[in-house]
């Protein structure tokens, strides 16, 4: 009797369940994946379009930019220029994967292996997601955000809310904390600490000391005056999280506007790990579905036809055009990720002399899944490339590095896939994925609160690469809106010399009244 899980393209819930169980056996039993519990939701293509346009989240506040995205996606889809994603998966606990009813059973199998196990495992185990996102709370938070925004729209009108959200969206990329902060102590911890402090004071109190002169009071009496804490310290400058700064210190925002900024900021932070691990995350999921589909086939659970169908879409996903191909639009994260995962497997199980030289830690250790699982847990895109991109793969993808110096009239091929170039290419590719270099490094460096309240942003330029002018002017206008006063942006090079400067001056008379006392703001 045939052991096939399914033998037609049609799917039904029974087959889905059976296939899921077979995949789970391989994914958890054989590959040792450790995913969140899964929840799979079947939706129609219309709903997929909906979900697509709200950044893939099932609940999201309303904003015209999602309508724009929807209009574009829909037009592209209806015209047949682009297909829909086969799946959307959400970093939540339980992990929710959307799959489309239009998919064939083979595609459903592929999607479950890819999303419900690959992505899911990555979300649960990668250190960035663990540190920076709260998988079990995100849906509740989005729910709160949606109703809060709706509530604000009711009270203050849609245009007012949209204006703030437009501004906030423009600063979303600058609204994250790049470096993890010390975890904020929980209420219980803070209470315990306050009690401990009180206890200590009680035990060390001695009335004797009271007779000592109060040094500070005396000094004040002497007319010196307590030196004000420097403004920079109060404002916590420099501050790289622009949204955070505006939310905390903008002189003109109302409370609800601050809360809106906070919502956008929290959502940006939630998506920040995804931006840093796109290549690895897709690579992990693609590698997992590839392994699982092959195992299903080996075990005789899916037919050859189904395998062929799978391979067709798999190869389409991991296709990497050459740089001189018309279709080239950068390095395909699926392709690079998948190649790297396969390459690691090769190095671990069947290394060459070269691999042993370059990666002595893992070459020939034998357990590919163990190495992969630890890589998935402990790296992000740039560090992962720096650690694991092998000469073999650079040769296979025929990578080369082009140097573009502003002072030079030509491009220079600085390194290629040869003995002299491996380290250089690897370093350059790793830098290409480094969020610290990819996103412009812009910080709030000054806010003249006692004076004209001008806000100064500084772009610490990397290799003198400037900002795109039109966009920058538009964003500065948004910042000025949120801040309420003039804003300037300076670009400085490595030598701290100013390279360029933009400013947005608010029109209208300068505020006649003196600046509000700082205490009110802090």
């Amino acid at each position: 009797m045939s052991k096939l899980l399914y033998d037609t393209g049609e799917w039904n819930f029974d087959t889905l369940k059976r296939t899921y169980d077979a995949i789970e056996e391989i994914a958890i039993g054989e590959m040792g994946l450790d995913p969140y519990p899964n929840q799979i939701e079947m939706i129609s293509s219309d709903q997929m379009l909906d979900a697509y346009s709200s950044i893939g989240m099932p609940i999201f506040y309303n904003h015209w930019s999602f309508g724009k995205r929807f209009a574009r996606d829909e037009a592209m889809y209806r015209k047949g220029y682009s297909g829909l994603a086969y799946e959307i998966v959400i970093n939540s606990n339980p992990c929710i994967s959307y799959i489309m009813e239009e998919n064939t059973m083979t595609m459903q199998t592929l999607v479950m292996a890819h999303a419900a196990f690959g992505h899911n495992h990555f979300f649960k185990n990668n250190y960035l997601f663990k540190e920076q996102t709260d998988a079990s709370g995100i849906l509740d938070y989005l729910n709160f955000a949606k109703s809060y925004v709706a509530h604000c729209e009711e009270r203050h009108g849609i245009p007012a809310v949209e204006r703030i959200l437009d501004c906030a969206h423009a600063l979303m990329d600058q609204g994250v904390n790049r470096y993890g902060r010390r975890a904020r102590p929980s209420l219980a911890e803070e209470k315990a600490r306050a009690e401990a402090r009180a206890a200590h004071e009680e035990s060390s109190f001695s009335d004797l000391w009271r007779t000592l002169p109060n040094a500070q009071k005396d000094r004040r009496r002497a007319g010196e005056g307590k030196k004000a804490e420097p403004l920079q310290d109060i404002l916590g400058l420099p501050e790289e999280n622009l949204l955070y700064f505006l939310e905390k210190f903008s002189p003109r925002l109302k409370d609800w506007e601050r809360e809106l900024l906070r919502i956008v900021r929290n959502i940006a932070q939630y998506f920040f790990p995804q931006r840093q691990t796109k290549m690895m995350n897709e690579g992990c999921a693609t590698y997992c579905h590839y392994k699982i589909m092959n195992r299903l086939f080996e075990k005789g659970l899916i037919s050859e036809g189904s395998m062929l169908e799978f391979l067709t879409s798999h190869t389409a996903v991991v296709f990497q055009p050459d740089f001189d191909d018309q279709r080239y639009s950068g390095i395909n994260p699926y392709a690079l990720g998948f190649e790297m995962m396969c390459d690691i497997e090769r190095i671990v199980t069947d290394p060459t002399e070269e691999d042993r030289r370059y990666m002595p830690d893992i070459a020939g250790t034998g357990d590919a899944m163990a190495v992969l699982r630890s890589a998935w847990a402990n790296f992000r895109d740039d560090s992962f490339i720096a650690q694991y991109l092998s000469p073999h793969l650079m040769r296979k993808m025929r990578m080369f590095m082009l140097q573009d110096l502003a002072a030079d009239p030509t491009y220079k091929v600085a390194a290629i896939h040869d003995e002299r170039g491996y380290r250089e290419v690897r370093r350059a590719l790793s830098r290409q994925y480094d969020p610290g270099l990819r996103d412009p490094n812009i910080q709030v460096t000054g806010a003249d609160l006692p004076g004209d309240r001008r806000l100064t942003l500084t772009h610490f330029m990397h290799n003198d690469v400037p900002l795109a002018e039109n966009d920058t002017m538009a964003v500065l206008a948004y910042v000025a809106d949120l801040w309420g006063f003039d804003v300037e942006l300076r670009g400085v090079g490595k030598d701290d010399e100013q390279r360029y400067r933009y400013e947005h001056v608010k029109s209208g008379p300068a505020p006649a009244q003196p600046a509000e006392p700082l205490a009110a703001l802090v």
Partner: protein, 435 residues
């Protein structure tokens, strides 16, 4: 694992977002719509429309690196011949690295296209336009009635019976009055039939049988007394007759088809009439069009003849006006119809006829017309040669005096396809009089 079927969940969650987006992009969409009406062929005006919007209008700017300037390294796949140290010329104009360096995340965005429905299209097209001087006939004539739903009533004709409401009332009444439920009745009947069928009954069964007989009777009586559906349950959809302002209009298309009118000119005229027709059909439930063409004589014709046959001969414009007057008297009682007219001509007229025209217009036509628009069409070549405001026809000069005295008369000149919509827009703009 949990599979949840969400397909029945509402779709269109993005609808509010889409509406917000359209509202935001409205200005741009409108420009695109106007542009498209200038360029498109006749006849497909009511089809769906693809509108493209320049990205910058609805941009979401971010602080991102410029594609130019500074020093940068980039890794590419697919090297074929390069070795270390090779140099490549940079493309001129300092455009770095071709398309591949366009934007850092590979999201090159150009113009943004999306489809709006023909309904949305026409709404935008005719937004801010209105029919002038509607009030007169609305007030004068309110004999037309329209039936509109107006809640429910307890009496009405059987066709208007509202089943859901009726059954709901009936159910409530049955429950409150305690009409035996069918299940109960059936259970009793079954038990009764069982016992009845038995040849011999025990004493206990006999007692039960007697009891059941009594229950049966009681239930039957109760069921009879409390009807399943009682007249008091009945609910009918109620309709109310509401007076409607006259919702019909007739449009007279008057066109000069004499030898001097070229195909190009007729095309311009036709575009104008077409817009007018589309516009009227949106404002009125029923629009009739009367085509009248004239050379030295005027005749009512069908659409095809109107636009496609061409004749030679002299031009006597007044004949068309006279014909229009005749048709109105014949078929369109003034108290029932809103009358509109548009006249297209190249302005060539038989010399002594202009005076007759003026008399007809001011004496007979304008008093009965809601609005009379005169469009003078120019041949493109002719316009190039004589493009001057001084160079106007006799008819134009005469009509100008009419325009000054009659607010429901307007005139414009059309030189090219691109002029048609703007001219139409000016003729029907809401604040036409102010402007």
């Amino acid at each position: 694992m949990n599979v949840i079927d969400r397909r029945l969940n509402p779709k269109g969650k993005s609808l509010p977002n889409r509406q917000r987006f359209i509202r935001l992009a409205k200005e741009t969409i409108k420009e695109a719509v106007v542009r498209s009406i200038r360029e498109r062929a006749l006849g497909d005006v009511e089809s769906k429309e693809v509108v493209s919007i320049p990205m910058k209008r609805i941009a979401e700017p971010r602080l991102r690196h410029s594609s130019q300037g500074g020093d940068r390294d980039q890794v590419f796949p697919g090297n074929k011949e390069f070795v270390q140290g090779d140099t490549l010329p940079k493309p001129k104009s300092g455009q770095g690295g071709g398309g591949s360096k366009g934007s850092p995340d590979g999201e090159g965005e150009d113009d943004f296209r999306f489809t709006i429905s023909s309904e949305e299209y026409l709404n935008i097209l005719f937004e801010e336009l209105e029919l002038p001087d509607l009030a007169k006939t609305q007030l004068a004539d309110s004999t037309a009635m329209k039936f509109a739903r107006a809640g429910h009533s307890s009496s009405g004709s059987p066709t208007n019976l509202n089943l859901v409401r009726t059954m709901r009332n009936s159910l409530a009444r049955r429950i409150s009055l305690g009409r035996p439920r069918r299940e109960d009745v059936e259970a009793v009947e079954r038990e009764f039939a069982e016992l009845e069928a038995k040849e011999e009954r025990t004493k206990k069964e006999e007692a039960r049988f007697a009891e059941l007989t009594a229950i049966r009777e009681r239930l039957a009586a109760r069921s009879k007394r409390i009807a399943y559906i009682d007249p008091v349950d009945l609910r009918f959809n109620r309709f109310e007759a509401r007076p409607l302002p006259t919702a019909q209009a007739v449009m007279f298309c008057l066109m000069d088809v004499s030898g001097s009118m070229t195909e190009d000119m007729k095309d311009l005229a036709k575009r104008f009439f077409l817009l007018l027709h589309m516009f009227l059909s949106r404002k009125y439930e029923h629009v009739e069009i009367v085509f009248i063409r004239h050379t030295s004589e005027a005749k009512e014709v069908d659409e095809d003849t109107f636009f496609h046959s061409r004749e030679t001969g002299g031009t006597v414009v007044s004949t068309a006006l006279a014909e229009m007057k005749r048709v109105v008297e014949d078929r369109f009682p003034l108290d029932q119809w809103n009358i509109y007219a548009a006249q297209a001509s190249d302005g060539d007229n038989y010399a002594s006829d202009s005076h007759t025209c003026l008399e007809l217009l001011t004496g007979d036509i304008l008093p009965i017309c809601q609005y009379f628009a005169y469009v003078e069409v120019y041949d493109r070549r002719q316009a190039e040669i004589f493009h001057s405001s001084l160079n106007v026809s006799e008819l134009w000069k005469d009509y100008q005096s009419v325009q000054e005295a009659h607010p429901n008369f307007a005139m414009k000149r059309v030189f090219s396809k691109a002029d048609v919509f703007p001219v139409f827009h000016q003729l029907f703009a809401k604040n036409r009089k102010a402007a």
